[in-house]
Symmetry: C2
């Protein structure tokens, strides 16, 4: 199904443009991605792409399977309007947001408390995917998961692993009942991470760039871990710390 939009005043164009705001994304349950790599990754994922948006002078790569995908051809002007990059690649897609349930037998789960920087959140998701995490829960208070910078930083990992938004206060007790150890991260009152065995099954909880994980959440974990600092830096970047802990805890 291919249609064409030429008018910048078309209501669909206005809606796409508005998807750069969290408000519109929340209202519609949709988000916009752009660029060949991300769109390709989205197309590989079942039932994610609602609509492919293509500039009039751009060809859809022949290797892509777009048989059952709605396609809208737009002018370069429209593409520029809906893009948030300076030189759009001319290919974008409207996608459905994910909603995933907690697995009944969580083995490797990552909980994120109030991550503020879009680049950090995206890199954490990319890292979690690489480390074989089964579910990422983005806690309320974090930057919006469907922010375009977050999505870019995931390098497509947002389409590779189950992710959901949720209230960590409610989710931790549910995970705890499953008997998998829940490890918080905290510079105070924690143990060096290497003191716990890399058992492969875990829930890891990491937190805000400046303040770390909220006290109330730390009180609910089985143990709180820290990564020793051997130099004079005060802390590690949260995505780097998450990578070190995930790769350690998963074992070999």
């Amino acid at each position: 199904m291919v249609k064409r939009i030429d008018s910048v005043k078309n209501p669909q164009v206005k809606m796409w443009k508005k998807l750069h705001t969290k408000k519109e994304r929340d209202k519609t349950g949709l988000f916009l991605i752009e660029g060949y790599h991300l769109v390709e990754e989205a197309l590989r994922t079942k039932q994610v792409v609602k609509e492919l948006i293509v500039s009039e002078n751009v060809d859809i790569p022949s290797a892509w399977n777009v048989d059952n995908v709605s396609i809208t051809i737009v002018s370069d002007e429209i593409m520029k309007m809906i893009s948030d990059t300076e030189t759009p690649q001319g290919i974008a897609a409207l996608c459905y947001q994910q909603h995933n349930e907690l697995p009944a037998d969580a083995q490797k789960v990552l909980l994120l408390d109030s991550i503020q920087d879009p680049g950090n959140l995206g890199t954490i998701i990319r890292t979690a995917d690489a480390a074989g995490v089964q579910l990422v829960v983005v806690g309320t208070g974090s930057v919006d998961l469907y922010n375009s910078k977050v999505i870019r930083s995931t390098q497509g990992a947002i389409f590779h692993l189950p992710i959901t938004k949720g209230n960590l206060q409610d989710i931790i007790p549910v995970l705890k009942e499953q008997g998998v150890p829940i490890y918080g991260t905290s510079l105070e009152n924690g143990r060096p991470y290497t003191e716990v065995p890399p058992v492969g099954s875990f829930v890891l909880l990491v937190g805000n760039e400046g303040n770390g994980v909220e006290e109330q959440l730390l009180a609910q974990t089985n143990e709180n871990l820290y990564i020793p600092i051997y130099g004079k830096s005060e802390s590690l970047n949260v995505a780097v710390a998450t990578g070190i802990l995930l790769y350690y805890l998963r074992g070999m």
Copy 2:
């Protein structure tokens, strides 16, 4: 020694402003930092700060030791001109670039081949400091170490550990003679990193975000390692990967 500059046409102001270009930084051997945190870290480091630059309405924190530091008071207008942030904190410093020799007994050295992204380079330096690395060598072909985004991302670590620029082709043979194992990183023809023992003494070589470490350099190492990818991501962010490897190799 306190002086005051009010004219935006003052040659010193012009020079400070020019320090946002690599060319001027290379020519002068100087670089400019701004903001309380970075300036405080710089002042704690011997013989780094050439001159403190302070807005007329800003007070130097009383806890800072500025006894032997040249201070220049400037108008807000000048501060705004030389700053690259939208709302300058009103405090900046002119600093000398570092030049460090290779240690005669390298224990933990990090070599960086063509890191392009300033945020990545800064985060890698911050991570290296945290992991107790003794020397970071920024290879030719990397983004300039004294780029303001790099410095911000180090969060001050640029003042905490010895860093130098250099040609890795020449440096690797010198380090090799010291008998410390040199580990490159490569997705192809490498071994999983967990197969080498975490001996504590090592030279780690990481590379460009897209292309990894150059072949010619990989050919000179003792072994090349990779971090297994358990999900569908193609790779890890280079700063995250560096964190995982440094913390693994240093041992506990």
